[in-house]
Amino acid sequence: PTIKLYKDFNICYILVDDDDEDEEDVERVSWSGEPVGSISWSVKETASSIRSGSEQSFPKIDTTPSLSKQGSGYSLSSLFKAKSKPGAFQSFSESFSDTSSRTYAPELRKPKSDGKDVVSDLSPEETVRRMQKGRAFSLEKFRSLQDKLLLLDEAVAVYDGNVITAVLIFLKKSLSKEILFRELMARDVALRHYVHYLKEMGEQKLLVELLKALGRTEDMALMHYKEHLNIKDESRRRDFLKSCLSLPFSQDDATHVQDHYTLLERQIIIEASDKKAVAEIFKKFPRKASILNMPIITTLYYSCFYHYGESEGTFSSPSNIRKTFRISEKQYILTALGARAKLKSWFDVDSLFNTKNWLGYTKKRSPIGFHRVVDILHKNSAPVQVLQEYVNLIDNPDLKLGGALKYKCHDIVINTYRDLKDRQQLIVYREKLERDSPEYRKIQELLNNVQIRWKN
């Protein structure tokens, strides 16, 4: 027997470790720690009902009825020996009357309602009290609508969620939907509990009807939409999303749901064709996962990776995706950059930034700072020549110098220090270079140039 009993803050914790066949070795102790049957224990028990209060050892637990259970002295094993009564809850107090050890436990102060033998004769208040205490109760006797509502109101008044839910279940079974809805609308607390209950029980249909009756149409729409998460098969999910389109979403959400449907529809088409992996690129870079249910940006990346340059007419082309889902220029360039850099297509990267200015000249432009472009290129192991080109495009001089130093773009460093007329830095930097490398010689030349007016 391995029952460990320990106390903390005057509350007993009991851990039961494993199978306990032999009950005889288990010491029966009361919640206050006294062995059941000992003199001191029975003295305490008597005292608790008389309430002399002179004991120093433990504060008397005698206020709330829920605690009175803890005040009785029964070990776990004696509880588990109680006989069951068919068809009713085995209530705690009823188990008392069956065990012989009750002979020396004094009567605990019993609430008045316990005097009544017939369970069915109880008022709403008394029924609710019994439900709170876990005693046997019967709701069937509340037949008339008025009685039922009284019961509900009483449950709400004591605010025990457990009891409110139980009463609601009863009302759900015994009242028509229309009447229940009508009555709940006037009872805010009960209504909230009911909504929560329906959510937990997954009663979608009823919940949607209720929300509709309440005029909470947006909630109803979102609730319905949420169900898509439970559909694993992509075609069924797509069809389900389609059915959601007509729901009364807010304008914003309606757009998102529309996009969600369109996206999944297209992903299914792309997936079907790409799975066959015919094109060269799929052989070189086999797909690691399916595109189904991926977010739009991920889909765009995939498209930039495997379907770059396709005409806008196909669902799989980046330009089609960009247009259909109204992806910002920034997002598009960032995503395309990542994909093309991964494939080391430096030429494609270059084209991303080419724009023609109003005179017709091509110049480089980026909605994201070029320092970030450089970072991404570096992450994809771009060669120094490529990096250098973009470092050169960085506007901010500090960032530019920083980038040049970080990525060892020697020419840019040298030119920058030259322009800053910073001789000291050039000397320092020269030491980092290989002797006789072109860059080393370049610095030497600069240093020897008498026409430059160095600042240091």
Binding site: P65, L67, S95, D160, A166, H196
Partner: protein, 523 residues
């Protein structure tokens, strides 16, 4: 005898049942019992009835666990869904259980004479307490009250604090690794035992599980310190322990040697504790010294001081572009929204679009939830009161001293948790001095008095502290706990704090509880 208990049934509707083998064992007929923890659920019994097994159980009862002591001054209900239920679903059942827990507490430690509160839920709990007391009038406890005051605080009075990254040692452990039921699981590599004489040791694969509470001396010392002060504390401890071990050279007589040996177990425990926490501190340091952590913290502090809260943050944009974990993004945008009392429609729409496009459209559900609880919402016509609140309550302390703090703001290296500031002001000089600010915060504030039987009024000795029980309805962070402990330890503060909460939370677990379908893979 079998004891079967459900853990975490809650108001919960378990669609799984732990399936004890109900196959009839003819040789040994077994009794099956149910013990609901923390309380019985009529709904569960209903389900069992539906499945036709209710009558197979010999006994059905509950073992009520309302408030669980986590440490000498900390109680928690560990009700994960309490915040969501109260503030999102408008189901305040967990408050009922909080009230019941408080009644139990009063039964053990005496009626609390004074109840203060701020927030709708606080009002609710107080009402229930008063009503429960009335119902059992006549059964007065004869116990000298231990608590002088109860302070009930709604979590939504201070939505900002849980969003910020905690900077105390314990707070960081929770943020990075997650503390569950007083335990933390850590990557095992740093804890590999270096056994003497063994060459190639195989690396342990099981995470290292450590128990964290104040019974461990070193932990009690460093847990509430700002992380930047932990290094110094650890090296100081290391010197003390070294010196203690060196004492063996001074032990000459048998008696002295004997004494030294008797101290060994304690010294070895101290040394092992030091080793563990040095390893943990190293793990944390790897993260706190990273560029990303620094950048993130900078943005948090900018928001908290009101800088650029009205435009799209490029840092957040970049994080979304890099597909950083969604919860990190959500914490930051919510923080910006809270500090700005709602975001400009354009800014909000932009963030939403970026989030949905990068992480998936299904997250419209989560975004809706965040809006409902007030964490991420559009700007209303009401002016932003946050700067006024921040100034009046001195929430931002420029010169917060991390090593030798003189103010609670050390727990966030500059930001004083609003909830704890309110508590601090309540104790001294009292809430009357901040009436205007209190009105700016959601929910009513109130004071109630409960009758204490004559003769039991506490006569406080000079120099004796008041004991205040602070109950956070919706969750509390370790940083707030540290801040309250700091207040208790302040010289001549005159007050000692005991902390209770519906749940111990951090920003991540808190936001997660508001997400719909977190099981789906979060990028």
């Amino acid at each position: 005898m079998h004891a079967i208990s459900y853990s975490h049934v809650m108001q919960g509707f378990p669609n799984f049942f732990c399936q004890p083998n109900l196959r009839e064992d003819k040789l040994q007929p077994r009794d099956f019992h149910i013990l609901f923890v923390p309380r019985r659920s009529l709904l569960c019994e209903q389900r069992l009835k539906e499945k036709g097994v209710l009558n197979s159980f010999t006994n059905i009862d509950e073992y009520i666990l309302d408030l669980i002591p986590y440490d000498g001054d900390l109680l928690s209900m560990e009700s994960e869904s309490s915040f969501r239920e109260c503030y999102l679903e408008n189901d305040q059942t967990s408050l009922y259980h909080a009230a019941k827990g408080l009644m139990t507490l009063q039964a053990l430690y005496g009626t609390i004479p004074q109840i203060f509160g701020k927030g709708e839920c606080a009002r609710h709990v107080a009402n229930m307490m008063l009503r429960m007391k009335r119902e059992f009038a006549g059964s007065q406890t004869q116990i000298l009250p231990v608590f002088d005051t109860l302070l009930l605080l709604d979590r939504n009075v201070d939505l900002l604090t849980p969003l910020a990254t905690q900077l105390t040692y314990e707070g960081l452990i929770d943020e990075i690794f997650g503390i569950t039921n007083g335990y933390v699981k850590l990557p095992p590599e740093k804890f590999a035992q270096k056994k003497q004489g063994e060459g190639g040791k195989e690396l342990p694969t099981e995470p290292k599980k450590l128990q964290l509470n104040s019974a461990e001396e070193l932990y009690a010392e460093i847990r509430d310190k700002n992380f930047n002060a932990v290094g110094a504390a650890l090296s100081k401890k290391a010197k003390i322990i070294s010196a203690a071990f060196e004492e063996r050279h001074n032990a000459k007589t048998v008696g002295e040697i004997k004494q030294f040996v008797s101290q060994l177990p304690h010294m070895q425990a101290a040394r092992s504790s030091l080793a563990n926490h040095t390893s943990i501190a190293e793990l944390i340091k790897d993260i706190t010294t990273s560029e990303d952590f620094f950048d993130s913290l900078t943005v948090e502090q900018e928001f908290m001081t009101g800088v650029d809260t009205d435009k799209v943050s490029t840092y957040i944009e970049d994080c979304i572009a890099q597909k950083d974990p969604l919860i990190k993004i959500l914490r930051l945008v919510c923080m910006q929204s809270v500090c700005n009392n709602g975001l400009k429609q354009k800014v909000l729409d932009y963030y939403k679009k970026e989030i949905l496009q990068t992480y998936g459209y299904k997250h419209i559900l989560t975004l809706k939830n965040l809006e409902r609880v007030g964490l991420l919402k559009p700007q209303s016509t009401m002016r932003n009161n946050y700067p006024t609140i921040r100034k009046t309550l001195k929430l931002w302390m420029e010169d917060a001293n991390e090593q030798n703090p003189n103010d609670i703001s050390y727990v966030y290296s500059g930001y004083a948790p609003l909830s704890v500031r309110l508590t601090q002001v309540l104790a001294r000089p009292g809430w009357r001095s901040i009436e205007e600010v209190l009105k700016m915060l959601p929910g009513p504030h109130f004071e109630e008095r409960q009758q204490v039987p004559t003769g039991l009024h506490k006569k406080r000795q000079p120099g004796e502290n008041r004991t205040i029980l602070v109950f956070f309805l919706g969750g509390v962070t370790y940083a707030e706990i540290a801040a309250l402990r700091f207040l208790s330890n302040m010289e001549d503060s005159g007050t000692e704090y005991i902390i209770a909460a519906t749940k111990l939370i951090n920003g991540t677990s808190w936001i997660k509880s508001l997400m719909d379908s977190p099981e789906e893979n979060l990028p």
